[in-house]
Symmetry: C2
Subunit: 376 residues, 2 copies
């Protein structure tokens, strides 16, 4: 298909666009007709991510992650989306299938009405944020393709301003940890999950091999604020960058006290689900960890960034274990983030897409339109 035919196909899906002005009145009429008859069609299928290494958190470990893959078809274009559902968050293939089966996109014939469609998705049921994100991401991919631009450009962000991503070193025996750290030499920031009795040993083991900055994620694991502050002082001397979710998210006063006294920034993660939680995090944490699977997708995530900016909260963009679909979607936000933790697709052995890559440790956003992915 030559570029003119590509252009006409694209123009036929755009209403009132400048490209059909001039003497192309017949194209313009065709575009209007097409707009009135095309409907959005959602499809989805379960998929299971295979992790390269056993993934160990403070309270669990696993070797797979269930995801749901979505597609939204509109004319000849398809938008891709994904829901990643680590079991501890309560979603599963079953809950996502049930939710997505209720989503009736056939009532919409204009994908550009993102606000209206996403408002509708949100009202179908409470929770189900990963499932909601899988629709939101597919819609953004579709609209970006209709516009012919990647989302970082549509949002006005500079793709050169992306941060390094952290790379997670799972909890393991000292020898295995040392091996993993050496294998991760490409990454400029490491991340470790603490909140166990072996916290100091874990850090010392990594420091015996490398001097790169380390992000610490406690996953609510520290029980006492004075213990937490002592640990943070110790960690600061070890070149740690920030402390994510140090204590139970419900302990507002303790987390606020810790943030006020901490020599390192604190980041709210479990405490910050969606848009309304950003304001609640103000005064409790130094920053927030925004994840598409928590907040319901790209649109809410981008609003959370504007809100965090206006409140002086630092922004980190995180992920679950995900294919390059959801990782690429999240990458468009990272020019506005101080830190990124987008190693999710690096940790799996059965990715399905090419998209945003990590190049020399830095998030390198795909320049393709939409979220910027192609099937492998």
């Amino acid at each position: 298909m030559d570029s003119r035919r590509n252009f006409l196909k694209k123009a036929s899906l755009l209403a009132g666009a400048a490209v059909v002005s001039g003497n192309a009145g017949s194209i313009s009429k065709f575009a209007v007709n097409r707009m009135n008859t095309e409907k959005l069609k959602l499809s989805f299928r379960p998929y299971t991510l295979e992790l390269k290494h056993v993934f160990t958190l403070a309270n669990s470990s696993r070797t797979t992650t269930p995801v749901m893959l979505t597609e939204i078809q509109y004319g000849d274009l398809v938008g891709y989306g994904e829901a990643s559902m680590p079991p501890y968050l309560g979603e599963s293939h079953e809950t996502a299938s049930t939710f997505l089966a209720k989503v009736d996109l056939s009532q919409f014939n204009d994908p550009f009405k993102l606000e209206e469609i996403i408002d509708y998705i949100d009202t179908i049921d409470a929770g189900n944020y990963a499932a909601k994100a899988s629709v939101d991401i597919a819609l953004h991919d579709l609209v970006g393709k209709l516009i012919g631009q990647p989302w970082y450009k549509i949002w006005g962000y500079d793709s050169e301003k992306t941060p390094f991503t952290s790379f997670t070193i799972g909890i393991d025996t000292p020898d295995v940890v040392k091996t993993k750290v050496k294998e991760a030499a490409e990454y400029k920031i490491l991340k470790v999950k603490l909140g166990r009795d072996t916290d100091k040993e874990m850090i010392e083991t990594i420091r015996s091999v490398t001097d790169v900055p380390i992000c610490v994620d406690v996953n609510q694991g520290w029980k006492d604020k004075h213990f937490a502050l002592d640990m943070i002082h110790w960690l600061k001397e070890k070149g740690i960058v920030f402390i994510e979710q140090p204590m139970d998210k419900t302990k507002l006063d303790d987390n606020a006290w810790l943030t006020q006294n901490s020599p390192l920034p604190t980041i709210g993660d479990e405490a910050v689900q969606g848009l309304k939680d950003v304001i609640k995090a103000h005064g409790i944490y130094s920053g927030i960890n925004i994840k598409l699977m928590k907040c319901g997708g790209m649109r809410n995530a981008n609003k959370m960034i504007a809100l965090a900016d206006s409140l002086g909260l630092k922004v980190m963009v995180g992920c679950m274990t995900e294919t390059s679909c959801a990782i690429s979607a999240a990458a468009h936000l990272t020019p506005k983030a101080l830190w990124a933790d987008l190693d999710g697709a690096l940790l799996i052995s059965n990715d399905l897409y090419n998209g945003t890559k990590i190049v020399d440790g830095k998030v390198s956003i795909s320049r393709l339109p939409g979220i910027g992915i192609e099937k492998i």
Copy 2:
């Protein structure tokens, strides 16, 4: 120029867009070269709006408004912007000329980096919000034209969900007011400026002619909170919709008390300049009046809407006396506003652009790309 040539011209200004994929390798290379050499060029000129009627506020009246018209050229495309500078806000042809002369856009060769460019504009000098808005609007017009879409679509808003605009009835003798109200029969909501001894007479005069809802703007004119509350109870019986800036913006406790006790929503206007003021308005007013000339342009205004949404603040989009340039720019925000006050271009006799219209009292957003205007 046929549509294919239009397309090629457009494609040459887009970097990495899908439309140049396929077998159009030579176009793609040309696009990259073009991107590296094209610079953004800003030009500006003063202009004076002639008002159809004398415009009377609580403390002043006038027959003209100084504006600054901006253009940003990029290759063969031009984006249009405008600064409207009612004298009581402190900007003028002189201040805007001084500010705009400092703006060096030649350092940027990619208009898509809106966040970076607008951050730069903001750091040039404090204040100068109308002058800043004139650059922001021209940039948005340019980028929308490059994308080939109007901003309401890029933002994901539904152009059918625009509100009616209010139409301002200036303070005058009862006979003149009655005539003005009859002439304004097309508009579904009227707006009056109160805060004088003649407030009740003004409302009674309008009610002797029409039953349409009325918005009240006090412009900080009421001095006592109990008097204000009594007035609001009286106004509620007269079919008033909301009360804008009832008292001095610095009287936080009094305005908060009034909002808590008022049977009508209160709207912060003078109290709400930009993004950081939205959070301050929370708990003090029921809603906020967002104006491009106060907050520095479309990008900040759209972020303010996301913020207001998350705080449960009602949104109104207002204007100064402006040509259809700045009015059209503001119109793209109105699908997310409960109320619009975009009569600015209706009040002048020497508009320069065709763009967003008021049709049967409702904001009818132009579907042209960018802000959607053409020179008359």
